[in-house]
């Protein structure tokens, strides 16, 4: 049976596999709504019903499903690529799927050719053993004089065992910001105004300080001292004191 004729009965689609592919490519079926696991399970059921594995068809199926999975994962990940794909013409998408299939097919044929070569290769054996040790190693007598002298070896080993001097790191500044410090800062600022903008709090600070301040904010939120809101992604974060009593009560 050709893969194209595999009958599917899924949540969002019922019909043959090639129709599903076409509809996906023409964006009439939303790939995001389609459970590819269901498609795979249908195919496995079909295989079980047939009781035999059709390698050719299975390979084609796997390649197609893999391509669909890649398309779907790109759709699900909000990045620049996704938009590009959405704009892909159905014909282009078909072309991409096809290129995959042809690539796979090319190397399947190459593999068959290799199998032939292997079968046709003369039944000869080559030396596999490495050279016997006596041919590989230098005799003690032949080694440069003095190289194996115990004193020299001892010195060489001694050098390896000596700990190198500690590196002086005093010139490297380590930014030290603690969650406790930032909590204290936030509490101080909140006592003044009762409301503040996160961006203003961390203005001019390095990334580490911004991150630690966010941890501090989370900690305060967990303790119920503040509430905060961010109307949209990457937008302004407004922090409000949850009530003076709560703050004062814990101090």
């Amino acid at each position: 049976m050709r893969i194209a004729e595999l009958e599917l009965d899924l949540d969002v689609f019922s019909g043959p596999f090639d129709l599903l592919l076409t509809l996906v490519l023409r964006e009439e079926v939303d790939l995001r709504e389609l459970s590819l696991a269901e498609v795979v399970i249908s195919y496995i059921d079909h295989l079980e019903a047939r009781g035999e594995l059709e390698l050719e068809a299975t390979t084609e199926f796997i390649v197609l499903v893999a391509a669909l999975l890649e398309l779907k994962s790109r759709l699900l990940l909000p990045d620049g690529d996704a938009e590009e794909l959405l704009e892909l013409e159905p014909a282009e998408a078909a072309e991409e799927l096809l290129a995959r299939m042809l690539d796979a097919r090319r190397y399947r044929s190459a593999a068959a050719h290799l199998a032939e070569l292997l079968a046709l290769a003369p039944e000869v054996r080559y030396r596999e053993a490495p050279l016997p040790p006596e041919l590989r190693r230098i005799d003690l007598e032949q080694a440069p004089a003095g190289l194996w002298d115990p004193a020299i070896l001892g010195r060489a080993l001694g050098d390896l065992l000596t700990l190198p001097a500690r590196l002086d790191l005093s010139h490297v500044l380590v930014a030290r910001v603690s969650v406790a410090e930032r909590i204290a800062l936030l509490r101080r600022l909140l006592r003044k105004g009762g409301e503040l903008s996160f961006d203003e709090v961390v203005e001019g600070d390095d990334r580490m300080t911004v991150a630690i301040t966010l941890f501090a904010l989370l900690e305060l939120y967990k303790r119920g001292e503040v509430s905060w809101e961010q109307p949209k992604s990457f937008g302004e974060i407004t922090v409000r004191a949850a009530g003076r009593a709560a703050v004062g009560g814990r101090r």
Binding site: A4, G15, P16, D18, L19, L21, T22, L23, L25, E28, L55, T59, I62, V63, A66, A67, P90, A91, A94, E95, L97, L98, R100, M101, L102, D103, A104, R105, R106, Y107, R108, S109, A110, A111, A112, H113, L114, A115, L117, L118, L120, A121, P122, E123, V124, R125, Y126, R127, E128, A129, P130, L131, L135
Partner: protein
Amino acid sequence: MSELARTIEALLFLSSEPLSVAELSAASGASDDVVEAALAELAEAFAPGRRGLLLREVAGGYTLASDPVAEDAARELLGRPRHGALTPAQLETLAIVAYLEPVSRPEIARIRGVNAESPVASLLDRGLVSESGRSEFGAVLYRTTALFLKLFDLQSLEDLPDPAQWDPTPEQRSDLRERLLAAGEARAGASSP
């Protein structure tokens, strides 16, 4: 047999890998031409049917190999076949490495449409491919080895045929392209009111 031919025979006996003319002339101190003449002399001496060894040109060099007549006895003696069977997945992976080397595992997986971890690992174990540096993205790159060339009786990878010969003709190709769209369109048209 000339002294040089006997020297080269000895070098081939001692080496476990094929030796190129350059290596043989460097070791023996003779010029390439003279070494080639001595190799011709050796080939004559090791012509099939004369000795238990054959002089073979493989993997970019010359090496001694056992006469196929000894194969049964050799298997008995060494207790294993010349090579284990290769699964279709391993052959496919090997083909991709041979044609595209150096190539990374993700690239192999992309072409085959399935994870290539297991076939790559077994090809590594068997010494048919080896690691060869890393790609700009840090993925390990793989190449075929001299053992691969010996096993498949190849001089070099250039002996492999152009893989484009297995591609479908442009007509078949456009047929295939149409198949996905056209067949589905017909059905979609039939089912819509």
